[in-house]
């Protein structure tokens, strides 16, 4: 018997098992497409260039999708092979040797591998391009984001999934090599058994989830958030699978024990059915739950970044016009005269094009880094440092009073302070040989928005700031000298076009001087919107991708279970099951099939909130309200979409079994 014979046998088997193979091939193609598109984004220009964080995030995302698709393919394979046990057992009885059966399976696997990988690469190319086109059209960002992929990505995808299918092949062969034909003939009939040590596994699942959640809850700073996020995601994914497997079996068994619940037509049929294939059922639900969490996180974060653009701009640029006077090369007197002179000049410049300054903020400041040890301030160099130090700004009381609209007076040894973590315990602060009595400044400097912990000190005399600068110099002679700089920010009236014109003028003015630098919020607005629009684009793209994944998984689950259950429903109809009751039994699965994954996903996302929020500060988003609104919106929207998916696929299920 040659290979040709086995190939044709394999082809025939696939054809005659169409009902099983069509959903199988569809789902595996879809999941590989998903991986392929995700890994193509890794080499995307936007991802590579926008932020150093993005390639890392997408690499992690690709790994997560890779692991997920591995589990998913094993899952659909187990459906397939279970339903084919009888057929393959028959080969044994008809006298085919095990190695021949293995050969038939080999060619079958080869064909399915080829079809789904080739299919995925083609679909990926087409789908990727089409969706990028569509999204570019819909979002109309100032600059289009282009779809790109590389032969390398395709090669990696093909290699990886060839490996995954090889594993399914080994699994299938082992199933048949170690089982006797009689057992195989019965194979489809036996229900699944509860996994051994399920209590331990249940505890393990809680530990994994707790650990993952714990990472998110205790995350200290945004920079470590990104690396730890990955670990947390993996822990939660593993925890979810174990929780669903052990938890759902436990709940189902408890429901079955409760005679009042169990012995009613709907639950009777659905609970027994789910217990019969408890592991498959649990893995299917966990798959849906994980995809749902991914959709919600991807879309809600990027929506937050996009919606929060205005706020981010305001955080980054406190005023429409922002001029910084660098004091490194200036003496104290020069700084003071320029500081006052510039303010007048800006009023004049605005007037020249018939605009009025509506609001101006100006202050002189010194920026240093250090740590509080007791009440002593120990200076440190700024970034990069292993432990991010405290970011300290020293301001002049006169400027502060003006800025805050206050009339506070300080005597010589006193200072006001602000700390982003709230009030300090210390009564005073020692800097070098200087000591200040501390009073809390009743003013919000918005330090919570900053990536690092911030402290502001306000002293009455410019000479005192100078002194602190000198002490810093003495303590850290090798560090860059800390200069006293000045900031002047102002808004004007007028149209956006006029404001832009003023921005251009100011830019020119600043480029004439070495120590001036200027930033206009208006000039950055467009750039920021296109950047953050890019995020939104990716978020929606991933959201769509995962939603399609959810559709296919739900569809696969319903179709394959439908074929599994068909015979049962036919028998039950013979002994008096009516169509209404079939409906009722599918309806009683709603809570289970619909609510369970969505609710668990929502819980996951709620726990992910702290770590995601920390990561978002890297992108400049700080508003809780924006986040909460977009999160709630996305959960509700996805819930609605999943509801539709669920309804449509359960109709498919119904039409199969009735």
């Amino acid at each position: 018997m040659n290979n040709r014979f086995f190939t044709s046998l394999a082809v025939r088997n696939i054809k005659s098992n169409q009902q099983l193979y069509v959903p199988y091939l569809l789902s595996s193609t879809a999941i590989i497409t998903m991986f392929y598109l995700m890994s193509s984004l890794l080499t995307n220009k936007f991802v590579q260039e926008r932020s150093s964080v993005l390639p890392t995030l997408f690499a992690m995302g690709t790994i997560v999708i890779g692991i997920f698709s591995f589990i998913f393919i094993l899952y659909i394979n187990s459906f397939l092979i279970k339903r084919r046990k009888k057929e393959i057992g028959l080969y044994g009885i008809l006298g085919l040797e095990k190695k021949h059966v293995a050969k038939i399976l080999f060619f079958e696997t080869l064909i399915t591998t080829f079809v789904s990988i080739a299919g995925a690469l083609i679909v990926g190319q087409v789908f990727g391009r089409l969706f990028f086109m569509l999204l570019n059209y819909l979002l109309r960002l100032p600059t289009d984001i282009n779809y790109s992929t590389s032969p390398m990505t395709a090669l990696i995808t093909a290699g990886l999934f060839a490996g995954v299918f090889a594993i399914t092949y080994l699994y299938n062969v082992s199933q048949f090599t170690f089982a006797n034909p009689i057992k195989l003939l019965k194979g489809k009939k036996e229900g699944e058994k509860e996994p051994k040590g399920s209590i331990l596994l249940f505890i393990l699942s809680l530990v994994l989830l707790g650990w993952g959640y714990g990472i998110s809850l205790t995350i200290a700073d945004p920079l470590s958030a990104i690396s730890k996020f990955f670990l947390a995601v993996l822990l939660v994914i593993m925890g979810t699978y174990l929780l669903f497997i052990t938890g759902s079996i436990y709940i189902l068994k408890a429901l079955k024990k409760n005679k009042r619940i169990y012995y009613r037509p709907g639950p009777f049929i659905s609970i027994s059915g789910m217990l019969y294939r408890m592991k498959q059922n649990a893995v299917g639900l966990a798959n849906i739950c994980i995809l749902a969490s991914m959709v919600i996180i991807a879309v809600s974060t990027t929506v937050t970044i996009f919606v929060g653009t205005e706020e981010t701009l305001e955080n980054r640029f406190p005023k429409e016009n922002n001029m910084t006077l660098n004091g490194t090369d200036l003496s104290q007197e020069e700084l003071n005269t320029q500081f006052v002179g510039l303010q007048g000049k800006f009023h004049e410049e605005a007037q020249k094009i018939e605009l009025k300054v509506t609001d101006m903020e100006s202050y002189r400041y010194l920026t240093v880094f250090g740590n509080l040890e007791g009440n002593r301030l120990v200076f440190e160099e700024g970034f990069p440092a292993a432990n991010v130090p405290l970011y300290i700004q020293v301001l002049l009381l006169e400027d502060f009073n003006e800025m805050a609209g206050k009339q506070i007076e300080l005597s010589n040894g006193e200072a006001l302070y602000y700390h982003s973590k709230g009030a300090l315990n210390q009564q005073n602060i020692v800097i070098g040989d200087q000591e200040f009595k501390l009073k809390e400044a009743d003013y919000d400097f918005g330090g919570e928005a900053a990536i690092v912990t911030t402290m502001v000190l306000i002293v009455p005399e410019l000479s005192q700031i100078e002194m602190i600068s000198e002490i810093y110099q003495q303590e850290l002679p090798q560090a860059n000298p800390a200069s006293i700089d000045a900031f002047i920010g102002w808004n004007t009236d007028g149209t956006n076009a006029q404001k832009k014109a003023l921005g251009k003028q100011m830019k020119q003015l600043s480029s004439a001087s070495e120590s001036l630098s200027f930033e206009s919020r208006e000039a950055f607005r467009e750039e920021w919107y296109s950047m953050n629009g890019g995020f939104l684009f990716l978020g929606i793209f991933l959201g769509l991708l995962f939603t399609i994944g959810t559709v296919l998984i739900t569809y696969f689950k319903q179709v394959s279970e439908g074929f599994d259950d068909r015979e049962k429903f036919q028998i039950m109809q013979k002994v008096g099951l009516d169509k209404d009751m079939i409906h009722e039994s599918t309806r009683s699965q709603i809570v289970w099939m619909f609510l369970l994954p969505i609710v668990t996903a929502t819980i996951h996302v709620i726990f992910a909130y702290p770590i995601v929020r920390k990561m978002l500060t890297v992108f400049g988003v700080t508003s809780e309200i924006t986040w909460l609104l977009s999160f709630t919106g996305v959960v509700i929207a996805f819930g609605a979409i999943y509801w539709m998916i669920y309804r449509i696929t359960s109709r498919v299920y119904y039409s199969i079994v009735k």
Partner: protein, 255 residues
Amino acid sequence: MALLEIKNLKKVYTARFSNQQTEALSTVNFSVEKGEFVSIMGESGSGKTTLLNIISTLDEATGGEVYLDGKPLSNIKDKEISAFRRNTLGFVFQDFNLLDNFTIKDNILLPLVLSKTPVAEMEERLIPIVRKLGIEAHINKYPYEVSGGQKQRVAVARALITQPKIILADEPTGALDSKASQNLMEILKGINETGQTILMVTHSTRAASFSSRVLFIRDGSVYHEIYRGEQTSDEFMERISQSLTVLSSRGGKDE
């Protein structure tokens, strides 16, 4: 009045992809009194299963009528048909038709659960039946964990539990060996003796010899019947075999 009355029943199958027609039943007339145990015999393809399926409302007749308790079955509305099947009829099939996702107990209770019977009543009915059928020890097992004979007794228990007016059995011993068949037939006979009406299709003369009357069906109509009367099982079996040989050798429909 007879419990079951069949008048001029006719069934013609039309093939799905051609106009070729098969007349499975031409004109069937007979009736079954309450408490009778009637066997139907006949060659393969003579229309026995078709007849049983029409009586059990799984299939619709082309002409004629089936009356149960004097009421025509064709009057039952579509919506009520499942409930009718559940509450009035009991089925025993050749291939058992048990569900692998239910325990033996749940398989037996299935029709009662579908009728929304209170739990207490279900359990009250279950115990005496499983005891009588000798499957009490297995009620928490699954169908794939018990023997064929036990499976068929489970199916009988499922048919009995709704206290149906009539039990319809299509070759119940078809998949069983002679010992298990004997055991099953004794059980059916015992059930019949408590007043339960049974209508059974069978190929086995031994199985038929347990009943009180045998109908012979050929080419879609009943052409002969014999009563057991006072005969012993063995005598009755002898007569059934004789009838079969005589009738099949004679051929034609000239009764």
